[in-house]
Symmetry: C2
Subunit: 123 residues, 2 copies
DNA sequence: CCGTTAATTAACTGATCTGTTAAATATGCG
DNA sequence: CGCATATTTAACAGATCAGTTAATTAACGG
């Protein structure tokens, strides 16, 4: 029984259909039928995927008449990102406590417009 | 048929034993027996976990006499982190193109430090 | 060689996953 | 109410998963 949060989150993310559903929800809330539309699988199958995502905390759902709207929830994604961050030093050659510290106090300006700013919050 | 890289990575990470193995490997290479030592499961079970991690690209293995050493590999973790990063705006309230721009030119310091809550990985 | 140690493979089991179709439930509306 | 629409639940099938024990392979060292 792997009922710990991270296991729930990672196994929810392990399915491509569920990741596609999350990607869709990143653009806004949607009903089950709307979410099912791009896929070749039955509605009950989508319903079960949503249940998995809900159990992992990746979505919340509300009812509006006979429609159930799904909404992306951030917390578990953040949790997963924080897990990855523990391993950042293994791939980010420019990552070290010293380097992070320097970036924090110096705020080295970036010429690129890719707002990739994980220097301020984490470590 | 979910043989895509991200699915392999996330399902490898979905198991707490495998995450514990990765955590151990973050401290350095180790043999199968050394990796198996903390767990109550058989050696073949650990061997299979290593196979899963290897298939996901999360470790590589080398042979030294009768010992097989496992080594943590960064690329898949980075890949997973980059996936998460696409959703960063959903949890990081201070994250947006505008906000990143403002931080770049204004140098707003942020010193919030969150404790490392999920340190225990074993089951 | 032979015995020992390290690790994997084989064969099997029970549980969980992903999908199906059919039936059930929930809600709005004429 | 009674029908249509949206969604979930039930029951089932096949695949994959995580574990076991027993057998096998690989390499070293007397």
């Amino acid at each position: 029984m792997s009922t710990d949060r991270l296991s729930l989150i990672f196994s929810a993310l392990a399915d491509p259909t569920r990741r596609a559903i999350l990607a869709r929800l990143a653009e806004g809330e949607a009903t089950v039928n709307q979410l099912a539309e791009p896929f070749d699988i039955s509605l009950p199958a989508v319903s079960r995927h949503l249940k998995v995502l809900e159990t992992a905390g990746l979505i919340t759902r509300s009812r509006n008449a006979q429609w159930r709207s799904s909404k992306l929830e951030a917390a578990p994604l953040r949790e997963a990102a924080e897990y990855m961050d523990k391993y950042r030093r293994f791939w980010d050659v420019s990552f070290s406590r010293l380097d992070a510290h320097l970036r924090t106090i110096q705020q080295v300006p970036k010429n690129q417009e890719s707002g990739n700013e994980h220097a301020t919050e984490h470590h």
